[in-house]
């Protein structure tokens, strides 16, 4: 009985007793969720256009952030380094298309997935060779990103809002809006959706598959760069960030592999639920439940919607 009380009643009494802390936990979860959503967005973009689950998306986040800090360490001004990094992401997209994807056109999707595992290994080795394995400090101030904190007295306590977290939320929202407009309103966006629906049909009406792949990998690269900057500013830039990117998996399971809104909503659900679980229920079992709670939440959603919240229901005729 006591155990049931601890699980089902106690945490809620605690939430009601210290609502300021509840708001703080939800805010932290919201910010983490936004960053998970950004990582997941990179996966979704590539999956939508090519049906490839890009295993290298996590390392692209690290690679983007490392390139930025590395260039700045060489004396390149911060914003020029950002522009150069965008260039690097473009070169990466072209190279991936030419060297990895083009030779594998018409191969089963699992082969393309395996190729991205190879790409992941290559980028780790290449990144470590060029930039070294040591963690680096993100050039937050040089980029003009805010670093202060605003404390708001509310609900009988205090809630702190780090300015960098607010900036992350705003930048993520702008990025999602831009991508949504680009893919829904522009000619290229429509072509991309056509490719996503049917490669053969899209090619038959003159859409160049290779060009679309470059664009989509480039877009995923820019998303990875932004994610790397924001997450790097919260902790530091190291290869450990690649591990954080694994959190995008439950986000994708939950939100669906092909839905941009799914990635956003899924990211927020995972971010907030893992923080609430760790904070209110974690201490009952010795803590550290944040690592598996997202997968548990995703599994529950899968039970009811196997295609994810916003994923397309695929019906294959046999």
């Amino acid at each position: 009985m006591e155990l049931l009380h601890q699980i089902f009643i106690g945490p809620f009494i605690e939430m009601a007793g210290a609502p300021d802390l509840l708001v703080q936990v939800v805010w932290e979860g919201f910010v983490s969720g936004i960053l998970y959503a950004l990582i997941a967005l990179g996966f979704v973009l590539i999956f939508k256009a090519s049906g490839i689950f890009n295993f290298a998306q996590g390392i692209m986040v690290v690679f983007g952030a490392l390139s930025l800090v590395g260039l700045h360490e060489l004396g390149v001004p911060a914003w020029l380094a950002v522009i150069l990094c965008i260039g690097i992401m473009f070169v990466l997209a072209v190279t991936v298309e030419r060297v990895v994807l083009r030779p594998l056109v018409n191969q089963p999707e699992i082969i393309l997935f395996m190729a991205t595992i190879g790409l992941n290994t290559f980028l780790i080795g290449f990144g470590e060779t060029v930039f070294g394995g040591e963690p680096k400090t993100m050039i937050t101030a040089e980029l003009g990103l805010p670093t202060g904190v605003t404390d708001v007295q509310m609900l009988g306590g205090m809630v702190s809002f780090q300015h960098i977290d607010i900036a992350a939320a705003v930048i993520a929202a702008l990025m999602v809006a831009t991508l949504a407009i680009f893919f829904n309103k522009s000619k290229i966006g429509r072509a991309l959706r056509a490719v996503a629906d049917d490669h053969q049909a899209a090619m038959s009406v003159g859409i160049t598959l290779q060009q679309i792949w470059v664009i989509v990998w480039f877009a995923a690269g820019i998303v990875a760069l932004v994610t790397g900057i924001m997450w790097g500013a919260r902790s530091d830039v190291s290869f450990a960030l690649e591990i954080v990117a694994l959190k995008a998996l439950p986000v994708l399971i939950l939100g669906g592999f092909t839905s941009i809104p799914g990635a956003i909503i899924g990211g927020l659900i995972i971010g907030i639920s893992e923080k609430l679980a760790e904070f209110y229920w974690g201490p009952m079992v010795g803590g550290s439940i944040e690592s598996w709670v997202p997968f548990f939440v995703a599994l529950i959603f899968l039970w009811f919607r196997p295609q994810g919240l916003f994923g397309e229901k695929i019906i294959e005729r046999i």
Binding site: E28, S32, T137, S288
Partner: protein, 438 residues
């Protein structure tokens, strides 16, 4: 097969054979010391300076003294990425080349090598890490963890906190956040025993490897529970993230103390001014203004010896210095083994004897250029941890400054617990090799 393909294949096979022969020849011609390092992966920030420090010290000895006892030192690195499985692979790949000692730089790898060491007759030196119980030399003849065990350190931290509270910790709450792997969990039994003995409340906060850079909820827990002190047992990206999060919730940095593996510049720099006041345990100094570092700079960093450090400043990294200290212990043990056995080229078994009778006196420390940097160290058959002394350093925003005297661990509490744990470890191992010390 075309001519070009044949040529390429020929060159590749030739290169492989040349490398292979070169390594075998090297192993036979010198003191062969394999280093299981991690310059890649999530823990590279801490692993790289460690590896550089060891590498540069051995290179300096080769350049300055022609090796040890007239025999060159051969160092071969094997990358583990801090993964136990890779560490074992490195061990298996190098043990046959005449390895004298293994320095795993990972508790996970150390735990894997402990059962292998007596079989292959190659000692393991886990300097200030690994299995605390291995300090019991009677039960673990092949394992050494000088100059101090994790349990000694845990008792030292609590002793230091007690000293700031007039010896009374009753009613205090001490939080312990740790990397949720073998390394981080190692001191928990000691902390629990101390909490019971001294009457403080212990709050455990494990951080999974996946959450190293995502600790917001852990530190909100700290904000809620309001512990008087926080102790961190972090490694790699965990510590800088924790320090940033602690600063974020405005935890008093003066009451935040790290293990000696959470006390490098790489741990405090990312938090900037927020890290000022953070404390960490250590068992060596933080100044390079002593003869040995001048020699390393002269003969290796700025000299003809090849260094892997990127810039001269890297020598000032705490983890680099620790690598140097580790290499010094290895070098002294080799010299000691040569003296005991009368042989120039020693074996792993000889090295074990060299380690077990190592006595670094103040005179020898001064002669070797380490005066003021380390305390004297005496390893015995019974006590493979040796000196056990440590002190506390404080980050002032630029440098680490010593803020305590040398602290003795609570030997009366720690030693019986070590012996009990050692006996428990070997109890169910039928053919375990032990020794009787006089």
């Amino acid at each position: 097969m075309t001519l070009t393909k044949s040529a390429v294949l020929g060159v590749a096979v030739g290169a492989m054979l040349t490398t292979s022969f070169a390594l075998n020849a090297q192993a036979a011609d010198g003191h062969y010391i394999p280093l299981t390092t991690y310059r890649t992966g999530a823990f590279a920030g801490s692993g790289t300076p460690n590896a550089n420090g060891m590498h540069d010290f051995f290179t300096m000895l080769n350049q300055r003294d022609g090796g040890i006892g007239g025999v060159k030192i051969i160092v071969e690195e094997c990358e583990t990425g801090y993964k136990a499985q890779k560490g074992v692979e490195c061990y298996e790949a190098t043990k046959g080349k005449g390895a004298l000692v293994y320095n795993p730089y990972s508790t996970g790898i150390t735990l894997q090598l402990i059962p292998k060491a007596p079989i292959d007759k190659i000692p393991v030196l886990s300097m200030g890490y690994g299995l605390s119980a291995a300090a019991d030399g009677e039960k673990f003849p092949w394992i050494f963890n000088a100059p101090a065990t994790y349990w000694s350190q845990a008792s030292g931290v609590i002793k230091y906190i007690a000293s700031r509270n007039k010896g009374d910790l009753k009613g205090k709450k001490i939080g312990f956040t740790y990397l949720d792997v073998g390394y981080g969990r190692e001191p928990i039994p000691l902390f629990k025993a101390l909490a019971k003995k001294m009457g403080f409340e212990l709050m455990l906060l494990p951080v999974g490897v996946k959450e190293m850079q995502n600790q917001a909820s852990h530190w909100l827990q700290v904000r809620k529970e309001k512990p008087d002190y926080m102790i961190i047992w972090g490694w790699g990206a965990m510590t800088p993230t924790a320090i940033k999060e602690a600063a974020k919730i405005r935890f008093n940095m003066e009451n935040f103390i790290g293990v000696w593996w959470s006390g490098g510049q790489v741990d405090v720099r990312p938090a900037g001014k927020g890290a000022i006041g953070y404390h960490a345990m250590t068992f060596h100094g933080a100044s390079t203004d002593i003869p040995v570092f001048k020699d390393i700079i002269k003969h290796v960093v700025d000299g003809p010896g090849k260094t892997l450090t990127k810039k001269a400043e890297d020598v000032k990294e705490i983890y680099y210095m620790r690598g140097v200290f580790n290499a010094f212990v290895v070098a002294e043990a080799i010299a000691n083994a040569q003296k005991i056995t009368g042989k120039k080229n020693i074996t792993g078994a000889d090295m074990r004897k060299g380690l077990e009778t190592l006595n670094l006196t103040p005179a020898r420390i001064k002669e070797a250029g380490f005066e003021g940097f380390i305390d004297s160290l005496k390893i015995t058959c019974k006590d493979h941890a040796g000196a056990n002394k440590m002190f506390v350093q404080r980050w002032d925003g630029k440098d680490w400054k010593k803020v305590s005297d040398w602290i003795e661990p609570m030997k009366d509490l720690v030693r019986p617990m070590l012996e009990e744990a050692a006996a428990k470890y070997v109890a169910d191992k039928k053919d375990w090799v032990t020794q009787k010390c006089s």
